[in-house]
Symmetry: C2
Subunit: 380 residues, 2 copies
Amino acid sequence: MGPGPSDVHPRVLTAMARPTIGHLDPAFIAMMEEIKALLQYAFQTSNALTIPISAPGSAGMEACFVNLIEPGEKVVVCMNGVFGERMKENIERARGVPVMVEDTWGTPVDPNKLEDALRAHRDARIAAFVQAETSTGVQSDARKLAEIAHQHDCLTIVDTVTSLGGSPLKVDEWGLDAVYSGSQKCLSCTPGLSPVTFNDRAVEKIKQRKTKVQSWFLDLNLVMGYWGSGKRVYHHTAPINLLYGLHEALAMLQEEGLENSWARHQHQHLALRSGIEAMGLSFLVHESARLPQLNAVVVPEGVDEAVLRSRLLNEYNLEIGAGLGSLAGKIVRIGLMGYGANMKNVMYCLEALEAVLADMRAPIQTGVAMNAAQNAAVLN
Amino acid sequence: MGPGPSDVHPRVLTAMARPTIGHLDPAFIAMMEEIKALLQYAFQTSNALTIPISAPGSAGMEACFVNLIEPGEKVVVCMNGVFGERMKENIERARGVPVMVEDTWGTPVDPNKLEDALRAHRDARIAAFVQAETSTGVQSDARKLAEIAHQHDCLTIVDTVTSLGGSPLKVDEWGLDAVYSGSQKCLSCTPGLSPVTFNDRAVEKIKQRKTKVQSWFLDLNLVMGYWGSGKRVYHHTAPINLLYGLHEALAMLQEEGLENSWARHQHQHLALRSGIEAMGLSFLVHESARLPQLNAVVVPEGVDEAVLRSRLLNEYNLEIGAGLGSLAGKIVRIGLMGYGANMKNVMYCLEALEAVLADMRAPIQTGVAMNAAQNAAVLN
């Protein structure tokens, strides 16, 4: 129940243990086509360029930036957590010019600040932001931010690593241009793949580049030779068994139904929240911007969070996440992602948390969390 | 029996289906330490920086070039197949200056040509070459090439994607400086990971860089914060289940013994060779430079190799590889890699090949391949 990798469903684990076949085998290519269609469903897009990058989410982020930026180009980045900072690093290394728009960690991106920045930097052609900040559990209004970006003739690069499959994300309806995610959060697949989707405007920018993409491995012009729909050209050897796993995870998402999956995450979040609040603990993020799948809980006064996490792991075999950056020591992050977003996990987590915190003499209310969570689960 | 991914051992497949745990879980970190030690054994090195990159072999190649090259630096590349060409692409994209030394596809790199090039380009500080060319099945003398490079004060970047675990590779004894490989060839693991090893001289060059590594994802200064031996800092989410698989594959290599694995590959190659030659077919590569694990067989006159491969796949469930580049249509590539390098595969492949070629009216000798292979297997 950390911030990812989340628990992987046994069906996905079993799929990954299937015999490895060749990356140009017709049976494998047929599966690749299914993966593309299933990813289009998960992203709610009809973008033809919707594929998994053969590496973790960080490489998906890098794929977006190195394909879309040419040296000297200005990019406005909305930063309200760790991953906005990482975007800045990516832009600089691609020899772009980042313009940073900062918001406090734990608050969503302020659309007005983005608007001001785009007015002040009229030569910017890209705006980048994180829809779901894994470091804080905050969600920003991707639709609104994309709308503003488009008014200023900017493409958007959007981080949806933690949102995909777990909370509303509508790539086409919201007009998001280049979007990357990860396999190891709400899809309940193992880490190592980064689903991405690019709309026609983004693809056009890549095709019109004057310079080569600086990464050979991530050059989408080349990657599409393998993942495109025509004759397949070997680019790199695809991670066959990981893709078996992703295929199974996406098939399960389709079986459940995307909206049902979003509702399940929200439902379990509300149950967890009731228990957390009944104990007297609080959330870092205001209710209006809380991600259901990433619960940043403020560590009570006097509690050493490293000890708390270590005791949960050793005594309860339960992993939760630490705070990052300026939030290190101040929050813990409880994931309710994919397969892991279920009532059994919520109850177990509350129970373990209460027991350890009580033993650590934290100022909490005991004996009420479970009831509150159960009531919330029934009500919602 | 293609050029990789090779057949994955059931133990490795089973390992990949273990429950996913966190990338900072103490149990996982202990496994990472074991992977490093096992990789040191496989590479025959004591290099501290010996880790798997979280992406396929092509990303391992890119990791070597983007970490070791700074803009404007000259790199001599020995090219005798597809992967030398890919090195050139990598260097140019890292804004280095490639100096190409070419040899005919199917022949090893000529050490004299490397020497001449290094004499003509005294400002080059890196020489790169492929020890085991997967596109042709040829092996070059890595020890000799490294010796020449060092005489000219150059570091070496060496592609060992197809050799690691399958034929002699001695990183320390031969003085190779930066070496990359893949998980999906003679290690019999699934694709998606690229083992790399860097010696102190290579690490020193990386540490002394004046410019940042252009790839954030592949920046070894950052990757080492996670894979190093001190306090682990989150960089990217490691591909947990793939690493379970690699750990198991490397443990199996250690159980068998590295030299025994090399001998097994050679033994099965000689059996295959006897059968191939008894049929009247020939190898692309001269005997003195043939890789046992990658057998490039010349397609007989009048045979459409695409039809041959397709019939083997559809009628015999047997995959072999096509020729690449200028060898497309002219050779097929038969892999004897890792778990797949066994007598059953050799006999089955010869049988299927003979049956289909005979049916295609190829000018071959029938009824003698199996006996020749069996005799060779006994003799060797």
